[in-house]
Amino acid sequence: MSKKSTAARAVYVVDGSRTPFLKALGKPGDFRASDLAVGAGRPLLLRQPFGPEQLDEVILGCIAPGVDEANIARIVALRLGCGDKVPAWTVQRNCASGMQAVDSAALDISTGRANLVLAGGTEAMSHHPILLNQRMVAWLADWNRAKSFTARGRQLAALRPHHFQLIIALMRGLTDPLVGLSMGQTAEKLAWRFNIDRESMDRFALRSHQRLADAQDNGRLDEIEPIYNQAGQLFESDDGLRREGTLEKMAKLKPAFDRPVGRVTAGNSAQITDGAAMLLLASEEAVERHGLPVLGKVIDSHWSALDPSQMGLGPVHAMGQLLKRQKMQGEEIDYWEINEAFATQVLACQAAWQDKDYMQQEVGLDALPSPIPDDRLNVDGGAVGIGHPVGASGARLILHLLKTLQQNNAKRGIASLCIGGGQGGAMLLEAQS
């Protein structure tokens, strides 16, 4: 029996595409965030029986669009050929921005405001800017005001080395400004709290790569569409995958956040990556009108919040509340996707999920849900191997979970992410039988 949706009208996921996720190599990559979203959206829209101008709206998640990409969703909509009359808006809920976009689209469809919505997420993390610090900005303002020769001389004399300290926006974005911890340090805190050792993390990370390799080799990632850079170079698959990785090699990596004694390394964390994922959502009316094939349904979703310094446990809260509302125990869920911000963070979620005290006191669930089996969790790998373009990952998880359900003739799945700043988001999906 179908679980009851909270939605007034059913929300269908018709189809979806994503770009390959491309590892950031220090300098700006070949694609801006809007280029990536266009790269994923064009083939998706091309294979639909309706034109892009028939969409009711476009919603995109993106944390840091480029300076020329304010309200990036509108830019992408226009670049996709939706025409002047399709409105578009951009959402931001940190690491779950892509899921937020899908949730917002689902809400607009369920309330009857929209029938066809293009939703997803995009992020070009390699393009996140490097900024001048405030003192330098102030100095420049004074310099512009200084007109006379002597005034300018005085200004020049006031220049100090600290004026030239640059701010790397990406690093700032991955640091919680209120608790003062980097995301990696919040993961270290979870490892310490749930006693997760280095080897378990490395083992998990290795498995993530192996699963991704297996999914690539067996054609389970057909949602990826090829993209080409300006020189015509082709990108077809997630290039963060390390096929030759071993436990020994991983063990050699130095801790990246809590030096020298920490356990979280670059190898067992999500990769910094550029990518986009796009989904097409439709009401029943639109499905019938255009004769659309259906991938699955959005049943429900839930957002929770918790202590920012333990943000990695967000999925436990969101999934727990979601199951509670749906009066489910967990065994009804065939497949799970929990975003792998850090290997240890997913392991901590699994541990907390089975921790009676945590579930009762922190999540507010009386009975323990059934455990999340390893062989039903992130079956085709996760962000450790694929990468985590922050705005896009939520949409990728939803899309791939639906594909997994379809490939395995399974019914139901949950996609979930932890969110920097101390939140969690979870979405319950059903495959179309």
């Binding site: 266009v38 091309l46 029986p49 670049r79 050929g81 090829p226 080409y228 020189a231 015509g232």
Partner: protein, 701 residues
């Protein structure tokens, strides 16, 4: 009541002169319009408004120039000279108006239109892509004759003005502002207010700066003119294209003296205009106009093109069409076969569009589509895969089942009959050929091929598509080689057999270039690729009794030297640049060298006309000029035959046959040419009569 020009005076006392030429899509300076301008000036000189603003009510532009139709054959030199002098008087009156005058320009402003703008005190253009200013006169074998050569130099200096007039190049509003050719370039919303502010404030009228004026002095003219001659010689030979050289001489002789310049304009331009080169170029202009109008009457507005085949041809067709605003999906078997095409497309966009915004938009329209999602959305699908009948048949069967019923199915084949490819289709009448030439971005012609099975209505739709992407459509019958390759091949092969006979390649090429070809046949073959030449030659040889030259087979089969792309063919190339060897000064080429090549081409043209490969001689000329670059100033092969005298040309061919054998045997079509000629003469006469009426009316006053 005026027909073309309307005066309107606003509340501020400024008079607006609206130009909206009746019975014409564009504003042209017809004799009638000139006459009205003349009368309007009478009125303005009497009423003395606060200022005059001249503008066009046509959406597409300001003024496209003089009425070229009235310059076609039948005009005598004296008539032309009188006409020019009358316009001089007219524009001098505009210039002398005792109140501020301004031209408010949008869209194209060409030739005589630009000369009128120069006669005003101020010029304001709309700042957008559609605004183009140019002196295209040299392309018609003349130079600006309505005072343009005088005033452009006075306004923007000899150096810039001469470059504009010599090249015929068009510029946009911003470039024009930078040159000082216009006083201001503004967005549409500011045009009216800007124009009014010029009239109200009357800023100092712009003239060339003193340094620019210095370049107009006698010594500077003597220094500069050889430079201009040298630059011009790179593009056009003096024997073939006298106009730019005449312009340089005209300026060199009279540059500093306004009255002498105007006088020389009248005598020189009228001489050029009634000369053979200009008349031929004007004819080519109208042939081009005729091709442009093909397919214009059908309601077919294709938006989406699907191209199958990501090779050079397919990729370049896709890129070109995306650049011209179509949404294009480009398919090949796998994603990796599209890398070259996508890279080349970006290069093309960067070169042609320059602005980042436009490049991004073009790249967004060009969609790599290895899975073929675009087929179902396409209005036109073009196949450009390798030349294999069975593969093409299969491809079209699959395309037919996915395409919209009203979509055009086209093949870019150059060698397989359409009828064969259409076999096995449910609706074989849906298939046409759209034969682009390499390089797509340079070659304007596209052969729209119809087989016996093709629905005739599709020819027009095909032509409409070709116009949509700004190329020139030429409807041709599906017969081997169609028109262009078929006519080109005997000419190329003759060039190569001359090499077999021991004539050096540079001598062969020089003879062709001296005739007026843009590039020698040997160099052309190297550029196309000798393997492709040989493949086409082998296809056509048995059908048209052609002999394949020894050297060509040697190079391709034995030595694998395929021309420019491999660095060596008939010539050697270093970094893509041809290394031309000097011809021995003692060497005496055969006297009939050029004739042998050209007459093979002419003879094949006659055969094509006889077989009805194209509809008529005019289209044949147009096709060969725009498809091969055949000397435009000679007006095309059929025109070459007629203007050389049908009898003499036929006789010349017979002499060649006696000397060199059966390949010069006159095609049986020669005997029918007399009738064709009669038709042409009759048509020409009726046109002349029509003109006489117009000129006659002018003369009566």
């Amino acid at each position: 009541m005026n027909k073309h020009l309307q005066l309107e005076t606003d509340s501020q006392g400024i008079t607006w002169l609206h130009f909206d030429h009746a019975e014409s899509a564009v504003n042209i300076l017809s004799l009638e319009a000139m006459q009205e301008l003349d009368e309007t000036l009478d009125e303005l000189e009497a009423t003395l408004p606060k200022g005059l603003i001249i503008l066009s009510d046509k959406k597409n532009g300001f003024i496209a120039g003089a009425d070229v139709e009235s310059f076609r054959s039948g005009m005598h030199r004296r008539e032309a000279e009188e006409h020019i002098r009358r316009v001089h008087v007219l524009y001098n009156r505009v210039e002398a108006l005792p109140f501020p005058t301004l031209c408010l320009i949008h869209g194209f402003c060409l030739g005589g239109g630009l000369e009128l703008a120069f006669a005003c005190d101020y010029r304001v253009t709309r700042d957008d892509e559609s605004t183009r200013l140019a002196f295209p006169e040299v392309r018609l074998g003349i130079f600006p004759g309505y005072g343009g050569s005088v005033r452009s130099i006075e306004r923007i200096g000899a150096f810039q003005a001469m470059k504009l007039m010599l090249s015929g190049r068009s510029i946009n509003g911003r470039q024009a502002k930078k040159m000082g050719l216009v006083d201001q370039t503004v967005p549409q919303r500011q045009m009216r207010d800007t124009a009014i502010s010029f009239i109200e404030n009357q800023p100092v009228v712009r003239v060339a700066s003193w340094s620019q004026r210095l370049l107009n002095s006698l010594p500077a003219r003597h220094l500069l003119s050889p430079m201009f001659v040298k630059e011009t010689a790179k593009h056009a030979k003096r024997d073939h294209y006298p106009a730019p050289y005449a312009l340089i001489d005209h300026w060199k002789a009279h540059g500093g003296d306004r009255a002498a310049m105007l006088d020389s304009e009248a005598t020189e331009v009228s001489r050029l205009l009634t000369g053979e080169t200009s008349q031929n170029l004007i004819r080519v202009f109208f042939l081009q106009e005729r091709m442009k109008s093909l397919g214009s009457h059908v309601q077919f507005k294709p938006q989406h093109l699907h191209v199958v085949g990501g090779g050079i041809m397919g990729g370049d067709i896709a890129a070109w069409c995306a650049m011209k605003g179509m949404r294009v999906t480009l398919q090949d078997r796998e994603a990796k076969y599209l890398t070259q095409a996508m890279g080349r497309a970006h290069q093309l966009f960067k070169r042609k569009l320059r602005s980042k915004r436009l490049i991004t938009a073009a790249m967004d329209r060009l969609i790599p589509d290895p899975k073929g999602y675009g087929v179902g959305q396409a209005d036109v699908a073009i196949e450009a895969i390798f030349e294999d009948l069975e593969t093409k048949q299969q491809l079209f069967q699959s395309l037919e089942s996915q395409l919209k019923p009203e979509a055009i199915m086209a093949t870019n084949t150059s060698s397989i009959p359409l009828e064969d490819i259409a076999e096995g289709l449910n609706n074989p009448q849906r298939l046409i050929g759209l034969h682009f030439f390499n390089p797509v971005a340079k070659m304007q012609l596209v052969e729209v091929v119809h087989g016996t099975q093709t629905d005739p209505a599709l020819i027009d739709k095909g032509a409409a598509f070709v116009r949509r992407v700004d190329r020139l459509p030429l409807p041709v019958k599906s017969s081997p080689g169609f028109l262009v390759n078929r006519i080109l091949m005997p000419y190329l092969l003759e060039a190569m057999s001359l090499i077999d006979e021991g004539v050096p390649a540079p001598a062969v090429d020089r003879a062709a270039v001296d005739f007026g070809m843009p590039m020698g046949p040997v160099e052309l073959a190297d550029a196309v690729g000798l393997d492709i030449c040989l493949a086409v030659a082998r296809k056509l040889a048995p059908l048209f009794d052609l002999t394949i030259p020894r050297k060509l087979e040697q190079l391709v089969v034995d030595k694998k030297l395929l021309g420019k792309k491999t660095g060596q063919g008939f010539y050697r190339y270093e970094k893509g640049r041809l290394q031309r060897e000097k011809i021995d000064s003692q060497y005496q080429p055969p006297a009939d060298l050029a004739d042998r090549m050209i007459f093979r081409l002419l003879n094949e043209s006659v055969a094509c006309l006889r077989e009805g490969v194209v509809e008529d001689a005019d289209l044949l000329d147009a096709g060969v000029i725009f498809g091969t670059g055949y000397a435009p100033f000679r007006g095309g092969p059929m025109h070459t035959i007629y203007s050389g005298g049908l009898e003499q040309q036929h006789h010349q061919l017979e002499i060649l046959e006696q000397r060199h054998g059966g390949k010069f045997h006159p095609d049986s079509g020669w005997t029918q040419l007399g009738e064709v000629l009669d038709v042409i003469i009759r048509r020409g006469r009726s046109r002349r009569e029509k003109q006489d009426v117009r000129w006659g009316r002018k003369r009566k006053q």
